[in-house]
């Protein structure tokens, strides 16, 4: 197939997305001024565990290759691991963004043991002092 005809075909779109970006929650332990999604407070309309799993099942049926999970701080959700494992278990890779505040040794091991999982941790400063535009809701050190 020539480049031109591939371009023409792609104009009609793919059968399904290659990946999706999903803000799983707007709840966050930090309330950074620079936050792209103005996170901090949980949105009462956020999906329940069952609803989120149904979305993942649809993405599996569409053969979406991976999802980018953000927020908010996705690890705030109590069902975070349940959803990530449901996704990976169904062949949907996960890349997620986190401020890292909730990753302890046990969770780090659990994350490291999963295939098809990429983690992006934000670093907004070079020392322990909170950056000027970051307001840790819990009084913790900054990112």
């Amino acid at each position: 197939m020539s480049v031109e005809s591939l371009v023409a075909q792609l104009k009609t779109g793919l059968d399904a997305p290659i990946c999706l970006t999903w803000e799983l929650t707007y709840a966050c332990n930090l309330q950074c001024v620079h936050c792209l999604s103005s996170s901090g407070q949980r949105d009462e309309r956020e999906l329940s565990t069952a609803e989120a799993k149904r979305v993942l099942d649809e993405l599996r049926d569409l053969q979406v290759f991976y999802i980018n999970i953000g927020g908010g701080e996705p690890m705030v959700r109590r069902d975070f691991f349940e959803l990530v494992e449901h996704s990976v278990g169904n062949g949907i890779g996960v890349k997620f963004s986190t401020n890292g505040a909730f990753i302890d040794a046990e969770k780090a091991r659990r994350l490291a043991s999963m295939d098809y999982l990429d983690i992006q941790i934000s670093l907004d400063g070079v020392d322990a002092a909170p950056p000027a535009d970051e307001a840790p809701a819990d009084g913790s050190a900054g990112q």
């Binding site: 197939m1 591939l6 075909q9 792609l10 009609t12 793919l14 059968d15 399904a16 290659i18 053969q63 290759f65 991976y66 062949g91 890779g93 295939d115 098809y116 990429d118």
Partner: protein, 89 residues
């Protein structure tokens, strides 16, 4: 190009998902995270049966690909070998 690719036994990498598309298929490698476009339905057909055949040549023949087109397929599969979408068995 690798020598004698036609005679070698190939298979889709087990960590690769192949998703049909109007132009052919998308191949995503969950290990190295590469996304590759297979831009012809014949390439997809051959890729899907690679593991059932003792060689690339056998897979091409079984898929009804004209011998005059084999060099272009050999080149394409060599490229897929490089990105680990397919591998040697």
């Amino acid at each position: 190009m690798s020598t004698d690719l036609l005679t070698r036994p190939l298979e889709l990498h087990p960590q690769v998902a192949l998703r049909s598309e109007p132009f052919g298929a998308l191949a995503y490698h969950y290990g190295n995270r590469r996304l590759v476009f297979l831009k012809h339905a014949d390439m997809v057909a051959v890729a899907r049966v690679l593991a059932d055949h003792p060689s690339l040549e056998s897979a091409l023949r079984a898929s009804g690909i004209d011998e005059r087109r084999w060099p272009s397929f050999e080149k394409a599969f060599d490229s897929l070998l490089g990105s680990e979408i397919v591998r040697e068995r």
